[in-house]
């Protein structure tokens, strides 16, 4: 299975890969300069080691025929569910949410990996054989399949991951041609179910949700992040302050600055010009993903490519929206930029899937 076909190698999408590496390079650069002295470089080295692990994962994922991955998606699905349940049993709580599992010295966040499993499961459930059309049953069945892990993720509580899954699901449903009218009905049903979910939550979880909706409920937490992030971004102005001038980031006024809010650090250092470059890079990555999805003939590859691209797009847009103050703050890392092993490895595996689909289009 791992035998590498020369034809496959010729079809590697260097544009996609190159754009990904470019973003990673910017991430490492930002971390390196994040803290004065050794703190920043230590952070960068650790992230680089995660990039190394992620690259191995990328190569492995890309060498395997994605169709066989989709075939065993149910097994992944069960494994993913088991991991999410394990989080409840063995999980470690970090800033109030239980999302991590300890594996020896490293902690591991199953919900990051689950985003990919989610997409594989969708591809398994919603792809069709040539000449067949989708049945109503398989669409409704896929909703049920994704509903269970969705609830588990919400209970962690990892609202961020849950919020990413919703647009991804919507994008895939649009892609396979579900009528907009039906989608609208789903959306309405979802909104109608919200009050029910509300009652299932514990009071402190409700509090946390209310803070998501209205940051000023918690004057010490979220609102502060948003304000400081805005100041950091804005003070970068057009050309940025450079590395040493980035007081917001380096003087630690900005919380979560190497994880979810790393874009603010980047924006302070490199200004609007830098942001423009970065956002064009992300746009290129995402559009390339859509291109791969559009040009694939094989049904599983289509759904898979669209799903992975949608995960990238949704995470990127939601994270940047929250850091720039357009969206309420939820915990979502910026793919390929934020510090964090699980997120980096999962993102690179996603790139691997896209490469794999692209390579096998031309046979």
């Amino acid at each position: 299975m791992l035998r590498v076909d020369r034809r496959l190698l010729q079809n590697v999408d260097w544009l996609l890969l190159g754009t990904g590496f470019f973003i990673i390079a910017l991430s490492i650069l930002s971390m390196w300069n994040l803290a004065p002295g050794r703190g920043g470089s230590a952070l960068a080295w650790r992230q680089l080691s995660w990039v190394g692990i992620g690259l191995v994962a990328l190569v492995v994922v890309a060498s395997v025929d994605y169709r066989s991955l989709v075939r065993v998606a149910p097994a992944f699905y069960v494994l993913g569910l088991a991991l999410l349940v394990a989080v409840f049993v063995l999980g470690r709580t970090v800033s109030g949410a239980r999302r991590w599992i300890h594996l020896g010295p490293v902690t591991f966040q199953p919900s990051e990996l689950f985003k990919l499993i989610f997409v594989l499961t969708l591809a398994w459930a919603l792809s069709t054989r040539p000449g067949e059309s989708l049945t109503r049953g398989s669409v409704i069945g896929s909703l049920a399949l994704v509903g269970v892990p969705f609830l588990l993720v919400v209970r962690q509580p990892d609202l961020g991951t849950a919020l990413v899954l919703v647009p991804v699901m919507a994008a895939v449903l649009v892609g396979i041609g579900v009528r907009l009218r039906v989608l609208g009905a789903f959306a309405l049903a979802g909104v109608a179910a919200l009050p029910l979910a509300w009652f299932a939550l514990k009071p402190y979880q409700r509090d946390r949700l209310l803070v998501y909706l209205d940051p000023f409920r918690d004057p010490l937490g979220t609102a502060y992040n948003v304000i400081q992030a805005k100041i950091a971004i804005g003070s970068g102005q057009l050309l940025g302050k450079g590395v040493s001038g980035a007081t917001q980031s380096r003087l630690a006024f900005l919380p979560e600055r190497h994880t979810d809010f790393i874009f603010a650090v980047f924006a302070e250092m490199w200004g609007f010009i830098g942001c423009l470059v970065l956002i064009v890079a992300y746009g290129l990555l995402v559009l390339r993903g859509f291109d791969i999805a559009a040009s694939t003939r094989e049904s599983r590859g289509r759904v898979l490519a669209l799903g992975v691209t949608a995960v990238f797009a949704a995470q990127t847009l939601i994270n940047l929206g929250m850091v720039t103050g357009l969206l309420p703050v939820v915990g979502i890392p910026l793919p390929l930029m934020s510090y964090g092993g699980s997120s980096m490895v999962a993102s690179l595996m996603g790139l691997g899937l896209l490469l794999s689909i692209r390579m096998r289009q031309f046979r």
Binding site: A35, T93, Y204, L317
Partner: protein, 604 residues
């Protein structure tokens, strides 16, 4: 209606839809660029200025904890402002020298100061509480040297204050900063003060309120320049308990120097008027800067002051249990008031001899006088007549051997052994006649808690109703709205014929008022009814004779019962000599010194 468009595999349709999604994503990215243009180009200069003088610090404002009141509106605890020393790790430039200075200034071990900083990231600007309850002198010392102590701040926070340091300690419970495990559960922030035992823990959700916060602009030295925004804290809710502060105080005073528990209950509604456990612990010591050594001493104290003996200690009921035997026998018809025997102080069963507590015996006794004088010989025979099955059934009906459900948690269930005449290979040994004899006088494996006995005596006083002990009447939010209210809850009913109830009451009146074992509880003018008990302690050492636990379970006035008083003194000796006088003091205070007794019974 078709859920999906026509047959799949139409390349154009698929590409069109993917293209549409790509357009949506592109619009998203364009929108982001727009926002960035707004922030960096249009607002850039202003935000740049803000970043230059960005010295905004955040300071939490602790919500005052809700107050606990007694049934008459007297406070059981209160709050007062207290000084807390905190570090802002980010601003402590030369950490070692600052800590060394402070250590000398406040006479606190250096390691303790350092430890509090170990748990937080060194670049955090959120204040880390280091020491609570600073004295005014200490505050002055620190404030005077402020410039030499960068990153050290003194904050004012509300703190619990108690009438006396051990007052109702087990009932109220202590308040203490969250520990690491509780922080990990994710419900609290580091530094939060939460109830760790008793009502403070049970009602923490209500009492805690919601902290507010201040955003403060500070200058380069960390001195506040201007308050940017303040969000007021929501104070915690007020709790109106069922406790009567005066009775609680009297009960505690009466138990001074003794180990044991007192429960005072209103038999008309199950209200707990007082609940003491001694020795008690000092609430204020546990709230403040208790060092590890003190804590270890408290936990390993052989007198277990942290344990609430009213709920968490199990004792053999001793002769108090004779009430159950009498009730079972009379109701089932196996005993009559006319039954009599001659007590010579000994009872033979097979090869065994069981003795009465009184050498030489009580002479001629009938059921009533056997209760009044607590004759064991009579009850050995009575127990064999009634049979262990009936005794156990009635004991359970009276709520013995089962938790009373006070909500305080960690309640011990006690034990009424199951009667099983067959021998099982791995189970307990088979029931024997000797076991029946033991249970007849409340010894052997039988175990009860003082709260269970109070519930049982309430049932005797009120004609069979078992109440769930009520500790909290209602909880009112700071704005006056009702957050919780509890009505009295019946958890069981003992069915005895009125004649039997009357007989039992009459006999219990005799125990106190007709020269019985409870004579020490007698109060002229008030008809006290009660039963003494002397329970063999399960405990180790056989060194001295003072090993028995003394019980006195009682209610008054017998013709219209308003209070139940149950006293247990650990290793006190005889119930009539030790426990009954304590109950006497409590009754005296309740009925004869009616000072602040606004409304003793009536359910509000």
């Amino acid at each position: 209606m078709d859920l999906v468009h026509g047959p799949g595999g139409q390349r154009d349709a698929w590409s069109r839809r993917v293209l549409a999604l790509a357009v949506v994503a592109t619009i998203g990215f364009a929108g982001l660029l727009g926002q960035l243009w707004y922030l960096q180009a249009l607002e850039g200069v202003r935000l740049q200025e803000m970043s230059e003088k960005n010295r905004i610090r955040i300071r939490p404002v602790a919500a005052p904890r809700g107050i606990l009141f007694d049934r008459n509106g007297l406070p059981l605890v209160d709050n007062r402002p207290a000084f807390t020393l905190s570090f802002i790790p980010r601003e402590m430039e030369d950490r070692d020298s600052v800590l060394a200075r402070l250590s000398v200034l406040l006479k606190v071990p250096l390691a303790e100061l350092r430890e509090s900083l170990d748990r937080v990231p060194p670049d955090s600007f959120r204040p880390v509480r280091v020491r609570r309850g600073l004295s005014l002198e200490e505050v002055t010392e620190v404030e005077e040297r402020k410039l030499e102590l960068p990153g050290v701040v003194v904050e004012v926070e509300p703190e619990r204050v108690y009438p006396t340091s051990t007052f109702a300690a087990h009932l109220l419970g202590y308040v203490r900063e969250v520990n690491e495990d509780q922080v990990k559960q994710g419900r609290y922030r580091r530094g939060d003060m939460i109830g760790q035992s008793g009502l403070e823990r049970l009602l923490d959700e209500f009492l805690r309120g919601r902290d507010g916060g201040e955003r403060i602009e500070v200058d380069a030295l960390g001195r506040p320049v201007r308050m940017v925004r303040r969000v007021e804290p929501d104070p915690g809710a007020q709790v109106i308990t069922s406790v009567d502060r005066r009775i609680q105080e009297v009960a505690e005073r009466a138990m001074e120097g003794r180990a044991g528990a007192v429960v005072v209950m209103d038999p008309r509604n199950g209200d707990v008027l007082a609940m003491t456990s001694s020795p008690a612990f000092a609430l204020d010591r546990l709230t403040g800067n208790l060092d590890r050594e003190d804590w270890r001493r408290l936990v390993s104290d052989p007198m277990t002051p942290l344990m609430n003996r009213a709920l968490q200690s199990q004792y053999a009921p001793g002769s108090v249990f004779k009430i159950i035997v009498a009730a079972a026998g009379l109701q089932e018809g196996s005993l009559t008031p006319m039954d009599g025997t001659y007590c010579n102080g000994q009872f033979h069963l097979g090869a065994w001899t069981f003795k009465d507590w009184k050498e030489g015996g009580h002479g001629h006794v009938d059921l009533r006088s056997a209760l009044v004088h607590s004759c064991n010989i009579f009850f050995y025979q009575a127990g064999l007549k009634v049979g262990p099955e009936a005794i156990v059934r009635y004991a359970r009906a009276f709520g013995l051997g089962g938790p009373t459900g006070t909500d305080l948690g960690a309640e011990k269930p006690g034990l009424i052994p199951a009667v099983d005449w067959k021998r099982h290979r791995d189970g307990p040994p088979a029931w024997q006649a000797g076991d029946t004899i033991n249970i007849s006088i409340g010894q052997g494996r039988t175990l009860v808690t003082p709260m269970q006995v109070a519930r049982m005596m309430s049932a005797v006083a009120n004609g069979g109703i078992l109440w769930k002990p009520r500790l909290v009447q209602r909880i009112e939010r700071a704005d006056g709205t009702l957050a919780y209210s509890a009505s009295s809850k019946m958890t069981g009913h003992v069915e005895l014929s009125p004649v039997v109830w009357a007989f039992l009451k009459g006999a219990l009146v005799g125990v106190v008022n007709e020269g019985g074992t409870g004579a020490a509880a007698r109060i002229p003018g008030i008809l006290v009814a009660g039963k003494t008990g002397t329970a063999q302690s399960v405990a180790k050492s056989d060194s001295n004779k003072g090993q028995d636990h003394a019980w006195f379970a009682s209610f008054a006035p017998a013709d219209d019962p308003q209070v139940v008083v149950v006293v247990l003194v650990e290793r006190g000796g005889k119930g009539g000599q030790v426990a009954a006088p304590i109950a006497h003091k409590i009754y005296q205070a309740i009925f004869l010194e009616k000072v602040a007794m606004v409304d003793l019974g009536g359910d509000s």
